[in-house]
Structure formats: structure tokens, C-alpha cells
Symmetry: D2
Subunit: 343 residues, 4 copies
């Protein structure tokens, strides 16, 4: 069975990463490749690393061009995906890499994004409790944000297991600059970012905060509040998230470790590393894997979980393809049996 | 007046940075330059960036070679500085870049360093409340650890002002790899660290934890407990510290900002940036400055302070020279009027 | 048909990259994974990016452990491969990532490597004129050096076409630091290499010089002399080679371009980019592709060819697997249909 | 004596580096700081590393604002400097960081820059034979291009000494990305440039080619033709130039070395390293020094000279300040006694 797939936003980083993975997917035929500008260009000129697709010509991002495929990946500016999805043929599986359909709470969306809530689609993070079932047979998928992917994988086992306090979660993440997109902005140029680290979106205003709180609250059954601080790191890809939460009285190191191990031992892409081994973002570069480690600091009563992902792979396109596989009933790991690229 | 200075550990990063700063210090004559190995080598071969000192020959690190100077900078392995200091002529100002004399509590030293406490010397971070006075006329100075420098500068104003809760401080820092020293270890080679971030010393065991708690507890007047997680960033120099603490009830954004502004407005080297501007480690590269910004996240009741320093300059050698200036009654900024080197 | 493969030197960069590619090769079963030290360790501890092989235990590099496989990849110190190969069962395909069997001329080997010549095995660069035929059915393969791979791909078409002068070829290459191996040396640590470029092996002494001259002389039919200067670049992977040769009188831009196009148009892994597009090492990161572009500078009468490869992939392991496929009669691209990993 | 200096282009990299150096210059008072956009902004917002000038307000780049100073540094788009210089008060020393006045040959200018030649000003590279004299008392200075600075320092001694053949010089340079300016262009963003190397301006069309040929021809007394290939390296600052020229018959290694040693032994900023030591760009980061090494490859009859500079310091602003010192009769090293910033 071959699945026909159309990919929009093909000239950007998310679209490029989707194409990279689909090019190696045994069950996929890549159909229309679209971009809202650059229509008519050879893909090889915009994404020279996609050797196998170099001669493909980009088309306009339009309903006509996207129609007629089994699956459509959208990587569009805010507000655009709902409209296009509504016009696509019935039965098309629409996978949105944008934020529009991630949040369940309309008020949270309006507060952080300042526009009307477009609705909620099944959340593309199958490792969350119960989420895999919700993705089976889904024909709408909201790809999680990159930081939330790492943060939710890092802390959900503890909340699902009732081991952590829901107030006062503190998360600090460092991301490679591809997370900011292929935008020509002075603060993102190489001379500015190389050899430097800097924070942004500090103080609770970052849009991934409600998304992280949503996932942890769902796992916990009670509200979880999160302080989230993202920082920009001098590398192209990767996210290292350091997430800490207070541990409930009486919970100890072994119980914590057991909860994470049980949550992930059977997962193909998420790994609690052997004790003593700490995750590096390079170890998951270009792969759909997440590597993490936890430590219980009983001096302060917090568990500290460090989780490494590739922001473009597990954090965006890999998560999207993984969810697509589940939705279509394909082997979940199809096209994603990739080792990390290191060094 | 010219001060004669000897520098040990001259082939390492800390010693090299001390020499770089002293080479431009108007009141200093550099005397003996020593290293425990490499004696007899030209400095230019080991520290090719020190053009003005290229022809100097390294001597043995011995009491004889270090004697006869007004000031001696020590950058030696643990346990070595106390012995050498005790043998140096009376009146020599001894400045120790190592950890041996930073901690006040012998039990904390023994717990984290596993050896006998060597005693406590005046702590070389003059911006701490009351610390400048203690450094005047001092003839022993313990240079702070690099992470503690950034963490203490980040949070002390809030604790000194009684605005923050002392339990549950959470600090995550990212450092350039020079912080690990000039050691040939596989995990530190370029191919391993470039393009990657990774955590280490997670869970409360990092030796800078007691040092940070000491400083914050002193400022607060009450015990402060800290969760500290260091991470390795793909750059040579720089530390970006993200430090959060819970704000006492009733304390708001303006009161917080006022406390930091008052603490630092008259300081030559520590800057609370204008609102809206966030610190970058590149902006303080090679300079003795610390740049910070704070935000009050009232959703979680925490202040988040981000502080950028150069781990080798304000975090080590610059802090050392600054303290030396104070101890000797020189202008505090002598030899340290350096802009950051950016881009 | 499944091919059983043993890989030695599995804890190093070359061995790790071979394993990464073999893990995704449809026709391969990975057998013994060996390392001369680290025997008994879990591979996941030494090569954390190889998720699919994390639980494998490293064995000793011995004839016993390597025997019984269809193919054995060797990544050993100089002088070791010939001995091991001689003892392996008849019919084993032995692929040597080391230098021992690359050179045809014993005198050149002894001059540059200072030991006895171990003999010559078929050279694993199938894109060289006539080389593919020599690899078919081969049971010994010498994997080319990384720099020679890029240099030979860059210039061979011109020499094979009789368009270039053989004396006075000038080549300057920049390589990521993984090319130096996983060695703990001070000059290779991150703090030294990040943010810096430096040359080494300057003046004709670099061991890849005779290898490059060999390939170009073979293509030309006449002796070619090369000035080769390698430089170390602040990145983990990648080689950018800038190769220039004097163009024979009467040869023009179109004729040059035609020679390169004809040489590579039907090659699966080597690409002359469309005019106006210049190669980047990132575009071939982690892939077996080589991208190049040429320009004729008639002001000086030289063609300048720039060629980008990944030193570990096309420059080492990818070239090895590609040659293995040819030797065994498998599709040449099996296991190598990888896009570059960018950004 | 204090010199009043105005700096235009203050928000860019060249202007920022000039300000960094002038801020530490004992004889300079910084007057107007101008930028063609950003007028009214605080300098600290645009150049946060210039702590000592953070509160300065940028003014318009106009003749009024620039007048009334002893020295004016211009860093403007092509074609703008001549006009402004002509309107400044008589006696003002005008130092142009742009290309407009570097070339002596109007035809070369028009060929490579496509506009009318603005005239020739004294070239700001005092280490060239006879150039220091021309800069004494000069009131117009053309700051050399960054690549030409490194290339001319690398090869001039050999040409001045009549030891090298003038045809067929081959130069390949690698530069940090600040060389491209503070421009927001997609190909310069961090995600594109980090972990990658790429060539540009290949084939003789780069504008620095005529500038390099001019300097070498002047030194030689005969025409010198150069193949120059620039490449972009994943670092913020630094240029490593690898320059090769054919050595005249009968010239040997010792004679070559003597020529370079004699050329530079008494120079404060240019160093032929001790034999066996190779230059790194990090060793001259942020300093006005150039470090080089040469090797004679008698196998091909070429000398290979590798030269490292900081593109923004010796390659732009440091060279400018050095030339200013000479023009004004100040000590040549005033404000430039800076060690490199390493690691």
C-alpha cells in the first residue's frame, strides 16, 4: 500500500525535515511539494540536502494542489491551516505542524496567540498516556511544539504516576536556532548566535507555556503550573530541556525511576538512559528519538529530568510522521528507523 | 606604583586569562610565570594569544619562584594552594582561583570535595553586600567559582532585600567548555561538544551548589536551598544562568526591579539591562561585565533572572583582578576597562 | 539474501559511522562489533546515537570474533589490518578503513608512513574511471582517505579528459574535527577548536598527498604533482575542498563543464550542481553524496573546483559501504539512500 | 593631546569594532556616533558589548554631525564616502573602511565594482614596503579589505624580495561570517552557517582579487596574477588564509624564511611564528595581530604561507586605528596593545 503525501511549506525547516523523512519512508509516495512563495523553483535550489528530490518543482500552496492526496502536511503561518483543511476532500489526513490546533482551551489560545481559536485536533505525541489510541484512525493531527515535546516527555510519567506536585514546575530549555525558522532576522544571523547563548520569551509569556501546562495537567488530573524559560544555543539543531518538579512527600528515587521506566520501556522512540548516562542532543541529531535521564535531589525535594531531542525531528517532523503512521495503521516506526547522526 | 605579580598555572585557561588581563593592567609588572609541568617552555608556544608575553619562559611552580612578588595568583589542583600560601613571605597577597578556600563551612567542604577543609579566605565577589569592605586590605582572596559568580549576582539582590523565599531556588546554567579546563578528555573534544548540549552534575551533587547556597544564605540571613543544574554548551566561553526563586507574597514586579537596580546601579561591572533587553554571553565575552535581566512570572509566583558572564573573565580571572585591585587600594576598574568582544 | 558483517573499531568515529549505515542496510545483518579496548562495554554507552544497537556488547578485536562473517570492516591502527586479513577465512570480504592498502607505490608508502608497505588493495572510490569494475567481486577493499575522496572527485574528470596540466595542482581543504578521530588531545578539545581555524600538515608532508597524486596521475596517464594543505574547521563533520589546476591551452569553460557533467551525470552520489549553485558541507551532512561546482578563471588559466563531502560518510564509511555493495553484487545504493541532514 | 573622533556606521560590525578599540585608546575622545538608520537609539541596544558607551545616542550620518572632529571613521555603503569626505572641514583625517578608495587603477575599480572610481587614498596597511611613510601625516586613509590584509601580509615579503614568480598565485581563505556584515540574509542565519563550510565568489570575480593583485604587484615591481577563493567558516570572527606562490629557481627554504623574518621581526603586529608552530585564528581573536607560518614544498616548488587574522580587528578596525595613529604621529600601538582573546 502506498500513501500519497503532499507537503506544504516545503522551503522551510519543518517542511524540509518532513520531506527528508518521507523520502525514506517505505510506504509513502511524495506528491505535491508546495510553498507560499518560491513556487516554480527547483527544490534542490532551496533544500540542497534533499538530493533525491532535487529536481522537484515547487507548486503554489493551494487547495487544488494539495487535494488528491491521502495525507497533507501543513506548515503555514498562523490561522491558515483551518481554512485549507476545511476545503480538502473528505478523508484526507491533515497534519498541522503549526500551533493552531494544539490547545484545548480557547481562552488559553486567545491569551497567548491573540486570535480566534481554530479548534482542537488530536495531539501528535503518542507517548502521552492514552494518546496513541486517540491517534489511531485520526484524520486531523496537531503536531506538538518542539519545546512541549521535550518537556512533556520529560515530566509526564511523574505526573501520570501521581508522584509530583503540580504547582511550581520549573523548566529551562536550550534550543538550536533552527527552532526559530528560516527567517532572515539580524538576531538570528550566524555572527550573532555563534559562540553565544541568550534567553528569550522569559517570564511566562512564551506560547509553549500553556501547551506544556495542558499536557502535564491532563496527565496529572489536576492543574499544573509551569515556569518555562527558553534559551537560544549556538547550534543548528537540538533541544536540551531541564525540567524540575517537586516530589510528593514519601516518594523516593526508586519509585521515581520505576515510573519513568514503566512509561518508556516499551516505547520505540523514548529512552530512559541507564543510570549514570546523561543525554546529549548530538546523540539524537536527525533521529526521532528522545533520550532522558532523571535524578532525585532530596536536598531540595525535586526530581530533575533532562531530556534531549532534535527539535526538527522528534520535535516536529518525526513526531508528525510517527503520528501519521499511527493514524493510517502503518507500523509506527515506518520511515523512522534512523540512528542519530553523530559526531 | 607598580605591583609585581606572579602567576602560576600559566599554561591553563584560568592562568592564561589572568595573564591576558594583567598584561594590560597599568599598575602591574608581571614577574614569574609558572606551570607545574611545561617548565622551560616559551609561553608563546602554550598560550599563543598572549603576544606580548610570547618570549617569557615558564618556571616551576615553587615557593622560591613565587616569592618576592607583591601578589601571587594560584591556579593549582585541589589541596595545593594552602601549603604554598603558608610558605610565601608575609605580606604577599595570595589570590586562589581554586576552590579550596571558598567555603565557610568545613562540613560542606568535606561533603562535596572529600578532603580536609583548608580554611576560608575572603570571597572575591565584591558586589555581594558588604563584601567590598572585606576585600580592602585583604592578603588572601578566594576567587569564586564561575557558576556561583553568575548565580549569586543573579539572585542576591532579591535575597538581600528580603523579597524571595529561601527554599526551592532552581538554577540552570549553560557554560562554554573552557569551564572544564584545558583537559584532554574524550567527552570534551570538539567533535563531541560542537553542535550538542548536555547536562552533567545533575541532582545536587555539583560542587558549586554549596557555594551558591552559602552566598544566598548570607545575603538572606536565612538558609537558602538550591537545585543547580549545569549544562555544557557548544561554545568556548560564556555562562548563561537562568535562576528562579519564589517571590514572597505581596512583592510585585516594581519592587523586584527596584531592588536589583539599587543593588547594581552604581556598580561598574554588573548591569541590570533596560527593560525589554535580554543578556547574551557574547556581549560580555572577554570582559569583566555581567549583564542580567529579570522578569516576574506572577502566574507561578517566581522571579526569573537571567545573567550572562564570561566564565573565564568575570567568572574567574577578571573577578580575581578586580578583587586584587580592591585589596591593594588601586582603582577597582584598573586593567578591566574592557568592552566585550563581539560579534 | 542477508550479508553478515563484523565491524571492528566500533567505539571510534569511523566504526560508529559504518554501524550507523549498516543498521539501515536492508541486506545486512550486523554480527560481531569489536573494539581493541572497551571490550565488554555496551555499545550504547560508547555510541549513544546508535539507538538500535544500544544493547550490543563489544567484543575483542580478534580473528576468532571477526571470523564467520561475509564481510569484515576494519578500522585499526596502522599495520594491523594486513595481519588480521591474512588470517580471516578464505572468501571473507575485508574492507580496510585504514591507510595501509591504499597506495600502489611501496616507496611512497615508506616515505610518508615510515613502515613497510602492506600491499595494495582495490581502491574504494567507484566513481574513478574504471574503478567500479575493479570493485566487482573484490574481496579486499581499501577505503580511501577522506581528503583524497573529495580531491579526486573534484579533479579527476578534468585529468581523465586530458584538459588539465599535471604539474602545480593546488588543493586546500577544510575539515570538521571528527577527521582527527576520537582522540583525547589538547589541541582537539572544544575550547581550542570552536571559533577557530588552523592549518596543519603544511608543506607537502601530509600523508594524503601521495594518495591524491596517485589517483590524479592514474586518471591523467601522466604524473601529477599536488600541493595539499589541510585545515581544521570549527565543526564536527564535513570537508570542503578547493582544488585548482591549470587548464591546457585552448580549453574553455564549456568543455570543462561538459567533462565534469559527463563524468557524473549518471552517478548516484556525485553531483555537479546547477550553474550558480555552490556546495555546502551541511547539504551532504550524514549522506553519501558529494556536491561540487567548478569555475574557470581565465584571468589565471585555472579551473577551481569546490567539492563538499561528509568526511565520515562519503569520506569513510559511506564510501566503504558503497564499495561493499559493488563487491557483493548488491544494488550500489543499498542502505545509502540517505538525504543530507540539514539544517 | 586628545584626538576627537567621530564614527559612522556605528550599528554595524566594522563601526562597532572601531568603537571597541577607540574606547580603550588613551589619546582619543569619542565624539559623534552615527548610523544611517537607528538614529536616536541608545548604542547599548544595538551594540550591547560596548558597555562603556551604552548610554550614547546615535545621531544621523550627516556632514554636520561628523564635522568638528579631528578624525572621522566612515563605514558606509559604496559611493557614499567620497561625497561626505569632500564636505568635511579641511584638515579632518578621514578613514574609510569601505572599498571606494583602495584601488589605484580606475579600470580595475569599474570592472569589479561597476561604478565610477572615487579616487585613491593612502592604503592603510603600514607593514607593506614603504607604506608606513605614506601614512605619516596622511589625512585620507583607505582601510584595506579583510582578505587582502591577510593575503598581502602573507606573500609580500617574498615578492618584495624577488623570490617568487608573479603568475599563478593561488589563495584560498576561510572567514568567519561577520565578514559579511550585520545583514539579515537567509544564507547567513545561524542555522545555515553553523556546522557548515561553503565557498562563494569563486572563479576570479571576488572584489578582493584586484586589491590583492595590486599590493603584490607593487611589492614585486611586476604584474602578479592571483586566483582567490573565499570560503565561509562556521565561526563569528577570523580569517585563515592559505596562500601559495611558485618559488623562483634556486631559492630555498632558508632564503625564504629569512625574507619573511626580516620583513616582520621589527613589526609590532605581524609575527612569523617559530618553526613548527602554526597559526590559529583564535590566537589573534580581538587583537590587531597577524600570525603566520610558511613552508617550502620543494616537491612542487611552491611556498605555502598560512596567515591568521581577526577580520574585524587587523582586517578592519584595528588596521584603521593603527593607520590613524601613524597619520597623527601617535605611538603606532596606542590603543592596540591587546592580547588575543582565547580560548
Amino acid at each position: 500500500m502506498t500513501i500519497s503525501v503532499a507537503v506544504s511549506g516545503a522551503s522551510g525547516y519543518a517542511g524540509g525535515e518532513v520531506l527528508r523523512l518521507l523520502a525514506g519512508h517505505p510506504d509513502v509516495t511524495i506528491g505535491a511539494i508546495t510553498a507560499h512563495s518560491n513556487a516554480g523553483s527547483r527544490l534542490g535550489e532551496l533544500q540542497p540536502h534533499l538530493h533525491g528530490l532535487a529536481s522537484r518543482i515547487l507548486e503554489d500552496t493551494s487547495v487544488e494542489n494539495l487535494s488528491g492526496h491521502d495525507v497533507v502536511f501543513l506548515a503555514l503561518p498562523h490561522g491558515a491551516s483551518a481554512e485549507i483543511a476545511a476545503k480538502l476532500p473528505e478523508g484526507t489526513v491533515v497534519i498541522d505542524a503549526g500551533a493552531d490546533h494544539r490547545l484545548e482551551d480557547a481562552a488559553a489560545w486567545e491569551k497567548f496567540y491573540g486570535s480566534d481559536h481554530a479548534g482542537t485536533w488530536p495531539y501528535g505525541l503518542p507517548e502521552l498516556p492514552g494518546q496513541r489510541e486517540k491517534l489511531k484512525g485520526a484524520n486531523r493531527i496537531a503536531v506538538p511544539g518542539c519545546y512541549p515535546t521535550s518537556a512533556l516527555l520529560a515530566l509526564t510519567p511523574g505526573f501520570a504516576g501521581g508522584l509530583l506536585e503540580g504547582n511550581d514546575v520549573v523548566i529551562v530549555s536550550a534550543s538550536g536556532t533552527s527552532g526559530a525558522g528560516k527567517a532572515a532576522k539580524v538576531n538570528l544571523i550566524g555572527a550573532e548566535v555563534m559562540g553565544s547563548m541568550s534567553p528569550y520569551g522569559v517570564g511566562g509569556g512564551h506560547r509553549h507555556t500553556p501547551e506544556i501546562e495542558q499536557g502535564l495537567s491532563n496527565a496529572s488530573g489536576e492543574p499544573v503550573t509551569v515556569s518555562f524559560t527558553p534559551t537560544l544555543a549556538p547550534m543548528s539543531r537540538g533541544i536540551l530541556t531541564t525540567a524540575t518538579a517537586r516530589v510528593k512527600p514519601g516518594v523516593g528515587s526508586e519509585e521515581l525511576r520505576r515510573a519513568w521506566a514503566e512509561a518508556y520501556d516499551d516505547e520505540p522512540f523514548v529512552h530512559l538512559l541507564p543510570e549514570g548516562q546523561w543525554p546529549t542532543t548530538k546523540s539524537v541529531q536527525g533521529s526521532n528519538h528522545a533520550a532522558m535521564q532523571l535524578a532525585f535531589d532530596d536536598h531540595v525535594g525535586r526530581v530533575i529530568v533532562t531530556c534531549a531531542i532534535d527539535n526538527l525531528t522528534k520535535g516536529t517532523a518525526g513526531g508528525a510522521v510517527q503520528s501519521m503512521n499511527i493514524a493510517l495503521g502503518l507500523p509506527e516506526t515506518a520511515g523512522l528507523n534512523l540512528q542519530g547522526v553523530a559526531p
